[in-house]
Amino acid sequence: MEHSLRSRVTKTRRLVLIVGIVLVLSTVGSLIVQKQISQTETATVNPQPESKTTSRLVYITGGGASFINPQMQAWIRVFMEKTGGTISINYQSIGSGAGEAKWLEGALDFGASDIAISKTGYEKLKESGKRFIQVPIIAGSVALVYNLPRFSEAGCTLRLTGETVADIYLGKIIRWSDPRIVELQEGRCRNFLPDAEIFGIHRSDGSGTTALFTMYLSLVSREWAERVGYGYTVTWPRDALGLGEGARGNEGVSAKVQATPNSIGYVELAYAVQLKLPVAMLRNRDGYFVYPNATTVMEALRAAAKELPGPQEFWGDLPLKHYMNREGRLSYPIVGTPAVFMYIDLPKDLADALYEFFKWVLTEGQKPENIVEGFIPLPEEMRIKALQYLELLKPRG
């Protein structure tokens, strides 16, 4: 008797558990659905002119470079508000290489990368015979950040040349007090450099930032080009001396530089700006020391825009050949243009939606109010060229 009663109680309790879970899940679920419906409703009340072209909802999946993720999310937010939810865009930062590879495999509608389509990717594309475009969408640049408390307190800014940076990471310059560094500094600042070992921090994960940075070092130092080379991941000679270490992500490098006195590291400019780290000046080709900022980065890219290859050509070492270490008093030497890749022959509604989004990105999206702090828009020359390339996406007739 007692037993059967107990088991009945258990059954009731189990029922309560199941009902409870279902209730919780369904309540929250339906609240979300409602919210979404109300969002679309408010959107249909005020339709924007852009939304006329697409009648039903298009869902776009894109992915790739993590550097542009914040800017991409900001663009998507504003764009989706403008089009009233008729186009949904989902961008995830999975890494430049993965963005390219997953796009090639057909898992993404568009891929994005810090640099252009790689050689392996380009060969696969040629093999498949598919038509595609690659379009630059924003400017990028790599900043050298450092942690020298006494030096910074004295109001000094570190000045470096490409050769000295290469020699630091090659392990040929060991100390901050090395004459090759000291002689570059302004007179009164020379005494504030510590007689301590330089701790060289770099990205441990494969990244477009490393690719840009090592491309630059290969360009300015023959020894670097021969011993190390360039790519998403390289072998760092300074690590072998016990004077270097990797960190994950721009965030990781910034945090490690912040935590480690007498260290140096490289990050995407947006992160240096965000985290307010001291940024070094680099000597450009014309011999001027320049900070990375909107003026100097755009100046460098302006010089490069003329030589941008066609959208279907192999861009490969583009930053190396055309962007970096450009002439001009104000040119910052380490710059690049993150780009997106799309196939041309797509279903019409998808092609239209992609065209509409990236056209917006290259026009409205480049205006200061839509640029996230730390990011730099494309210079006018580059932007116009990118818009031309985008036109190939528009189905004819």
Partner: protein, 298 residues
């Protein structure tokens, strides 16, 4: 007749086993197929070299393999001590009203995403370990055996401590549940022999050896497989002396997490990463067979 019918139902249940087996086989198949190109090129070379130079398409992951094994083994030792201790405390000493709190706390701890553990490990655990354990010990002259910690405090040792903290709630739950499930007449019989509490506990632990083994396997598994948290505290440096645990290093899964996103821009890197996972898989297989053989005998 009746028995016959029930046996048939039971045969259908084997479908569940088949699904599990099939899923493991499929994952293994993907691993093998993706590893073949690099095996064809380099054979066993990547297992015994420590180079990671995609520029020249050279891949050797001994450093990560060693790092994985050292990290997981250390973590296992720490977590076994912690989980057995805390499970015994829970089952034998803790007043009933605290049990609910502790159990919920531990279940909650098991559910905290590893990323959050990683963040906590980087911001809280690493500096504490560096200042209070690693630096004093290496000052004492141990540095030639365990290496010198870096300023950030990230190291193989830090990773293994963090892993131990992460897997303890899970391992402890397995042991705890089994301790609580020991029939009370067995416990009473033991006490009636005039044994002290500690002696009873020792006997009880012997009695549940199998579950401790399961807990060991599960902890080791999670320690080897953990990605996000380890990648944040292990230091991510190609370290040939991975046995010097106060130095930063790499594990297989943190290597995969670091390198996979851009691996497909190279010809062989993706395959090298899958190969490293395959090797880890075989190491685990060996460990599991040993555990299983041992476990059956218990």
């Amino acid at each position: 007749m009746r028995i016959r019918r029930f046996l048939d139902v039971f045969t259908i249940v084997s479908l569940a086993n088949s699904i599990l087996i099939l899923s493991v086989v499929l994952v293994s198949l993907v691993l093998v197929v993706e590893s073949l190109p690099i095996i064809a090129r380099d054979g066993l070379l990547p297992l015994v070299t420590s180079i990671w130079n995609p520029v020249k398409e050279e891949y050797g992951f001994l450093f990560a393999l060693g790092g994985s094994l050292v990290t997981a083994s250390l973590a296992l030792v720490f977590s076994l001590a912690l989980s057995i201790g805390s499970a015994v405390m829970y089952a034998e000493f803790l007043p009933r009203r605290f049990r609910v709190i502790v159990k919920n706390l531990m279940d909650l701890a098991a559910s905290i995403p590893s990323v959050v553990y990683g963040l906590w490990g980087l911001k809280v655990l690493s500096p504490v370990l560096r200042t209070y354990i690693m630096e004093p010990l290496s000052e004492l002259g141990l540095s030639q055996f365990v290496g010198r910690p870096t300023p950030a405090g990230t190291s193989i040792f830090t990773a293994s401590i963090l892993l131990a903290i992460m897997v303890t709630p899970l391992a402890s739950a397995i042991i705890r549940e089994r301790l609580l499930a020991i029939p009370s007449h067995i416990r009473e019989a033991l006490y009636s022999l005039g044994l002290t509490k500690v002696e009873v506990i020792t006997l009880e632990l012997k009695y549940i050896k199998r579950s401790i083994l399961t807990a060991t396997a599960v902890s080791y598994g999670r320690a080897v497989g953990e990605t996000a948290a380890v990648a944040m505290v292990v230091g991510n440096v190609i370290n040939l002396e991975f046995f010097k645990v106060f130095k930063p290093g790499y594990t297989i899964s943190s290597l995969i997490a670091d390198q996979y996103p851009n691996a497909e821009a190279y010809y062989f890197m993706k395959h090298a990463l899958f190969y490293s996972a395959l090797v880890m898989f075989f190491v685990s297989l060996a460990i599991n067979i040993v555990l299983l053989k041992f476990g059956e005998r218990v």
